[in-house]
Each structure stands twice: as structure tokens, then as C-alpha cells.
Subunit: 358 residues, 2 copies
Amino acid sequence: KKYMELYREMRQDIVEGRYGFSERLPSKRYLSEERGISLITVEHALALLEEEGYIEGKERSGYFVSYQEGDVFPVTDKEEKAGFIDFFKRKTAVSREQMSYPTIAKAVRRAMSKYQEEILEASEMQGKFFLRRALKEYLRRGRGIFVEEEQMILGAGAENLYALLAQILGEEKRFAVESPSYDKMQRIYESHGIQLELLPMGKNGIESAALQKAKAKVLHVTPFHSYPTGITADASKRREYLDFAHRNGAVIIEDDYDSEFSPLGKPEDCLFSMEAGENVFYMNSFSKTIGPAFRMAYLLLPKKNLKENLEKISFYSCSVPVLEQCILTELLESGEFERHINRVRRSRRIRKKSREEE
Amino acid sequence: KKYMELYREMRQDIVEGRYGFSERLPSKRYLSEERGISLITVEHALALLEEEGYIEGKERSGYFVSYQEGDVFPVTDKEEKAGFIDFFKRKTAVSREQMSYPTIAKAVRRAMSKYQEEILEASEMQGKFFLRRALKEYLRRGRGIFVEEEQMILGAGAENLYALLAQILGEEKRFAVESPSYDKMQRIYESHGIQLELLPMGKNGIESAALQKAKAKVLHVTPFHSYPTGITADASKRREYLDFAHRNGAVIIEDDYDSEFSPLGKPEDCLFSMEAGENVFYMNSFSKTIGPAFRMAYLLLPKKNLKENLEKISFYSCSVPVLEQCILTELLESGEFERHINRVRRSRRIRKKSREEE
């Protein structure tokens, strides 16, 4: 494969320092003409180098070397043969959007050398404070969500958060959920003795008539990209959800599991931000953005009744290992997490454009 | 401190190769006489070197160098100043019995280089097969428990297993538990809508009269070192628990959270092994043996109704990150886990002996 040849050659040039850290690479056009290969082939090679963390594309100014000596575990030929970088053969679009191994390996290494023996110390129930601080900064910077460390809980995936929510809000014994909606979520609520009120979905979100009649004091919604319908609630529908909560003295669980990569949803428009978050519990996970092998999700609690709500689950231990918490902190603080989000967004735009041109 | 001087000097000798890998160290008596320091001081220094993974004591034959070049992250003076090895100042006996940072750091490194991109692949619900295989071998070898990979589930700590058990066995809506017993366990069962039948503890375990009258079809017991009473059930009491299960068509949950370090409990005498495990669910965690920061526990299911029981929780994802699973596999397969267990057992024996001599 021609792109693999170019990829290997450039990787070697980078690892051996012929292209130095932060140096700019020759343009795609130049590489294509110089070698007599197509622009697409060059782009494949560069995309692979970027995915693996050797270079970084900057909008309108080309590609720059992001590899520093000793920084990563460079891919060896042996690993290549073992299928390590069988990048363009990967099965699904989702897996191509996960974080790459070198990025994660680098974060593991840095986390180990930075946190040392701290990885042995049991976590606070809500998660290590330094992770919550890093997450708070990311949410402010990248998502326009303002929240304090005290309002956050880390958990081993969304499933763990559903269980915690059932115990915080379960006195009501009745949750309203979108119909259809995520099967696991429904089953976990039910396993905690909660009855589900199924509200049918219209074009735009939950049908207004059904919402009007709902009796539950807890409403679980996925305003962005509801599963499995793919429906996104527009501003007026989101307003309707909030109005429902005000009118009925209800609280909302906003499940925002898939909004990070969206070019659409302006994140500052989440329900949690729309009104100062008095009645909204917000949850999101890193299963799509980092990968399902990581088991990390977070819950933001409203300030109202914060102490009482935390009290109800205070007997639990944090379900995320401290090492994983240190790795996530490193990914957030180094900016790698946001660079990854941006890379995926860019590649989605490119794929979308090329589909439209076909 | 004199022991720190000796510790530092010997560590340097080891790291710089003056004592080579697997070489035997001079005897304690020799070191003590040569330097004019007490035997206790020498023992402190050697204990610290062993705790940190530089040397390994062998019964009746002295200490041998276990450090190999490039193998570990050697402790630097900077880390020392940051309190990294403030070993003898640590608060509790429990934390001194946790696995040491160098042992874990080594396992992280080896797991990364061995499993590579596999750390990105989502886990099967029950845990990665390679981990379950390593655990199966350890249980056979070290604990006399015979079990198949299909009967095992990994979870993020005992709390996660209580929740899974509530969903496997929760149709009964009534569990009998020891009174007093572990508060968290009780609260997690209750949060799944399960009623608890509290059976008072006698000298030896649950009082026979109370057990006779119990109506529950699920009996949760900690035959070894029940919390908080510290009671251990002898062979005849354990037999009574099994008889209760047979007579009432009940199943037993055997919570074996603290038996690893015991010089007492012969592990082959656990309920799960005593009868071919038809009615016994066995659970244990790594919170005491590795450390609470790791969040790993395992459940062994009986072969009877295995498929049906797994089906009830099949919608869950495994709650343990894959990286942690790889690290645990490495600790089990390398023998580090068992060496650690043996070290702690030995040091408990020594402490016990020195208390008796005082």
C-alpha cells in the first residue's frame, strides 16, 4: 500500500528527528507532486500519522510535528504486523473515533510519572478532587457549562450513574422516559424498583400531549441525539421540558451521552445551562470519546438539595479506579482530549463533504 | 534514621549493579556486626527494600536481589522527599499490607507493553477471558478452588457484585444476613427492593435457632472473619449453613472478603468448595490485597442455573476498565500477587511473634 509506505517513511523521519518537534511538514500538494502519488494517498498517510499522535493538523496552516523524543511508545514493525495499526480496516466508524493507542499510552506514562504513589490512595466517593477540577475547567472552556467540583460525581460508565440516580431520586418510584429509549437505562431503573412512564417521541422530542399528562416527578431525556431514534430536541422543545419541570415540581435527568462530536448542538444550550441548573441532573460519558474500555462517566448535580442528594449515596465508594482517574486528568489537562475531539469533528466534516460530493 | 541510611546505600548498590539480579545479600547478623547497628535496624532496612520490590526474602535462606535493570521505576531522592516512601510512618496496618507502588508500577509497564492496543477493546460483560483464565489458575493453585472461566464475573469492587447478586437472586425479595453485618451490603440490597432478615450472631457464626427459623431463600454469610464481629465460622457451623440451604432450597452467598492473608482459614474449606458449589455464590475482592484504589472484585457462580443467572445481568457492561484488567492479569500471571500475599503473611507472623514475646 502506497500510503503505508509514505506513513512509515515519515514516521521514521519524525522519530529520528529529521522533522523536529513543532516543525511544519511539507504541504500535501508538494508531497504528492514530489513522489508522484495521489493527493488522497498523501492524505491517508497524514491522517494515520495524526491519529497516532505523531503530527497535528492546524486549520489552514498545515501539519506540525507533535512527537517529542521519549514522549510516546513509537509503533514498531512487530506491532504493525500484529495488526496494531490496521487503521483503515477497522470495522466501524465509532471505533475510528476512539482515542488512539499512542495517545492513551502517552497519557498512562505521564500519569504514572506525575501521580506516583497517589494511584494507591483510595478515591473520595465523588472522584479525586484533581480530576473534578480538570473536568470543571474542560466543561467551562469547551462546553460552556459552569459547575463546581462539589456538584460532580465520577462513575464506572453511564450504567453506574443510572443506579446512583435511582438511589438519589428513587423515592418517587416513578420516572418518565422517552419511548423508545435506551433499553439498559430502563432495565437499571426498573431493577431499583422504579416504574417507568413511557412518553412517545414525536419529530422533535417527546410529544407535547403526552408530556402534558405525565405524572412522574422525574423526567429522563436525551435532548441531543436520542437513542435509538436519533431525534434532537430543538430550543422550543427543550424549553418545554424545563417548563414541565417547573409546573410539576419535577426534576430532569439530561443524558447527553453523544453530543461531544456534534457540529450541531451548541453545548451551552444544554438544559443544565439553560436555567441555572436548579432542577437538572446532567450526565455524560467518555465511552464514545475515549472508548468503551475505559468505563468513565460523570454526573453533575444541581446546587439545590445538593447535600441531601449526596447524603443518599454517601455509603458508596467511587467505582472508577484511581489510575484511570489520573489518566483522564492527564488527558484533560494536556489538551489531548480536546485535540482528539477536534480531530474527530474535522474528520466527520470531511467525510460528510465527500459523501455530499459523491 | 539509621535504617534509612542502610536502605539508601543498599538500594544504590542494587540499582547500580553491585549486587546483581538474584544474588544473595549478606546475612542480617553480618550487616549488623559490620556496621555496628542493631539487628532491628537492619531488619527495617531490609523490610523496606523488600516492600519496594528490590529484594525478596526466602524462608530460611536469606534475601535475594529481585531488581532487574529497567524493570522498575527506582525511587529517586526527589520522590523520597515528597514522602513517597514514608513507609514506617504510614497510618494503619492495612495500608502497609497493600501492594507497593514499585510492584504496581512494574505491572502497569509490563501490561502496557504486553497488551498494547488490546487495552482499547471493550471487555466482555464477565471480564476479559485472559483475566478470568489467570484468576482460575490462581484460585486452583493458591486457594484450592476449582472453577471455570464461564462461572466468573469481574466487577468494580464488592459493591458492584452486591448489586449484580441482587439482580440475579432478587426475585426472592428476601435475603437473610448476619446481624450485625456490613452496612453497605445491607443498604445496596435494600436499594434493590430486597427485604433483609437479620439473623443474630453467636460465638461461632449465625445462631442455630435463628437459622432454623429463617424463611429467606438467599443466605448471605461471611464464614471467615465476619465484619464487624470478627467471628469465623468453624467447620460444623459451615456445614450447618450448607444444610440450611439444602433443606430450604436456598442459595448461599459466601462473602470471603478478608481470607487471603489469614494463616488460619484453609482456603479449600470455603463453602464454595465444600460441596461442589451447587448452591453457593462466592465473592472476594482485591481491595485488601492490592488496595482500595483498584476497585476489583470477582464473583463465582454455581454451575447450576448458570445460563439463566447470567442472562439476568447480561444487559450490563463490565464495570472494570480493561487496563486494570490487564494489570491484574499481569500481577497474577507473574506470581507477584502470590509473592505479595506471602510477604504479608510472613510479616503478620513476625509481628504476632514479637507481640507475644513482649
